[in-house]
């Protein structure tokens, strides 16, 4: 870790980069944003942005379960509940009894409500409120390592399974004709999102995690000419918003997560305008 810090000091001789917590935050941003940029492409393609939002909300209940079980680290209770939650939503959607936005809406509200109720049992809800907006400046090196492992796992998934994931998302019947089990790949993807949302929610925050997943990919989609540029742009926009937002938040003294999302939102509107102008031309 010392070596990395020295490298960052040499590379970034700026005021904001002097502090160890800013260096950690920068490293976290450099890991989280490509991860979000990459997976966001499929979330947007599969029209699952509402779904990932609900997953973020379910973290509230996950934390509450952790508190009730008396564990120190809420990661596993969040992950367990998020997986259960994600698989329940996707299996109910697949049964085709109700429209998917209704089902997700019901789950999302129930997830938040249950979390609030459980957390308020033992008095103050307020000590958990930092989960709502997240605090990337509080990240520690050991947690960076965990994020890095998740990034590598998702990169492997994206490397080995993306082609089939894409065909399955395009049309399940077409995928079936190529012997691709759309349901299996959909489940795999849902599990991956649950993992990503869970491990990063403490740093990014329940309220804005979904913006960070969806905005870069949505901007990239406005500009992309194919799958390669879609992914490239999404990762670049995500990285740029992350680094830019972190630095701006330091000088303005604002919350990092929110500032990052604001930068991403501005980029989205820019991409939207560029796309409109290009269509007219």
């Amino acid at each position: 870790m010392e070596g990395i810090y020295q490298f960052l000091d040499a590379l970034l001789p700026f005021e904001w980069a002097e502090f160890a917590f800013m260096k950690n935050a920068l490293l976290a941003v450099l890991i989280i944003t490509p991860l979000f940029g990459l997976t966001g492409t499929m979330i947007v393609n599969n029209k699952m942005s509402f779904f990932s939002d609900a997953l973020g909300h379910s973290a509230m209940t996950g934390i509450a379960i952790g508190v009730l079980l008396g564990v120190d680290n809420y990661l596993f209770s969040m992950l367990g509940f998020a997986l259960l939650f994600a698989l329940a939503i996707s299996s109910i959607i697949e049964s085709g009894t109700s429209s998917s936005d209704t089902i997700i809406g019901v789950f999302s509200s129930a997830g938040v409500a249950l979390g609030i109720v459980l957390l308020s049992i033992n008095g103050g809800f307020s000590k958990y409120s930092n989960y709502l907006i997240g605090d990337i400046l509080a990240i520690r090196p050991s947690e960076l390592l965990m994020l890095l492992i998740v990034l590598i796992a998702v990169l492997l998934l994206w490397f080995f399974c993306f082609n089939r994931l894409m065909t399955a998302s395009l049309n399940p019947d077409l995928a079936a004709s190529k012997r691709i089990n759309a349901r299996l790949y959909n489940t795999l993807f849902v599990v991956a999102i649950a993992l990503i949302v869970t491990v990063s929610i403490k740093w990014v925050g329940i309220l804005i995690i979904n913006s960070l997943l969806v905005l870069p990919a949505a901007s990239a989609r406005n500009l992309a000419k194919g799958m390669r540029s879609y992914h490239g742009l999404s990762v670049l926009i995500s990285l740029f918003s992350g680094v830019c937002g972190l630095i701006v938040s330091y000088y303005l003294g604002t919350a990092a997560g929110g500032t990052i999302v604001l930068v991403a939102a501005v980029l989205f509107f820019l991409s939207f305008i560029i796309n409109r102008c290009r269509d007219k031309a």
């Binding site: 492409t41 393609n45 029209k47 994206w158 490397f159 080995f160 993306f162 082609n163 089939r164 894409m166 065909t167 395009l170 049309n171 399940p172 019947d173 077409l174 079936a176 004709s177 190529k178 012997r179 989609r221 992309a224 000419k225 194919g226 799958m227 390669r228 540029s229 879609y230 992914h231």
Partner: protein, 249 residues
């Protein structure tokens, strides 16, 4: 009537035995026995909701079913993992998706993930497949920007790569103009004579069936009859279902 043409050995390409599909308590298909031969274009006709599309999905293994579907190569040997080419009636997909024709092809013929790019050999192969269906320089186009006829031909080319053991066409030209329809069927007919694959064609247009199919099966939750196209179209029950006596086809 249906099916144990099994004895014909080398000619039989797909053999469906006692196939049934249920959705909840509802029986969609029952006791389907049907076989298709190499080089045959077998039209599946029937009223809406008769189970034609469901039958195709069951053959692809997309939905759970009872009974068996067995495939055989021209030598009469059983194929364990058959390749199936499928051209749907109307590909339900998000038209604004940034998936290009090249992405679609390369995602299914190689290991390199398409978000990292395409290999030249794969692109050349895709271009070659597209030429077969009369499309040139369409690789960089997004799927959503293709016209109805172009998309159906892209899907046909996609269905043919790798060359399938059976081709399933589910009303492949319902969204295509007249010229495109002619082109599409000419192509299917030439493929059939070139590669001798069996083709199952679901169509509502009995004109197309008469013109391009070599045999027909009348489906209503099961196979009511399977015979030559003329015999099936002259069956009173078929004429009743399609109102043929009124329009006088």
């Amino acid at each position: 009537m249906p099916a144990s043409n099994f004895s014909c050995g080398c000619k039989c390409s797909v053999n469906i035995k006692n196939l049934g599909v249920r959705r909840g308590s509802q029986v969609i298909l029952h006791d389907v026995n049907l076989s298709a031969h190499h080089g045959e274009i077998l039209a599946l006709i029937g009223r809406n909701g008769a189970g034609k599309t469901t039958l195709l999905k069951a053959i692809m293994g997309r939905i759970p079913h009872t009974g068996t579907v067995e495939f055989f190569n021209p030598k009469g040997e059983r194929i364990q993992n058959p390749r199936i080419g499928y051209v749907p009636q109307h590909l339900a997909f998000d038209r604004s998706t940034p998936v290009t024709v090249a992405d679609l092809f390369c995602a299914n013929c190689g290991r390199l993930p398409v978000w990292l790019g395409h290999r030249k050999a794969q692109l050349a192969r895709a271009e070659q497949m597209l030429r077969k269906v009369g499309l040139v320089n369409q690789l960089d186009k997004k799927l959503g920007s293709l016209s109805g006829g172009e998309l159906q031909r892209v899907l046909l080319a996609f269905a043919l790569d790798p060359m399938p053991d059976m081709l399933l066409l589910d009303e492949p030209v319902s969204a295509v103009d007249r010229l495109g329809t002619g082109l599409f069927y000419e192509l299917v007919t030439s493929l059939r004579s070139e590669y001798h694959m069996p083709v199952l064609l679901v169509s509502h247009d009995l004109g197309h069936v008469k013109r391009y199919a070599t045999a027909a099966a009348f489906i209503d939750r099961t196979v009511i009859m399977r015979n030559t196209v003329d015999k099936v179209l002259n069956n009173p029950e078929v004429r009743e279902t399609f109102g043929l006596d009124i329009v006088g086809v």
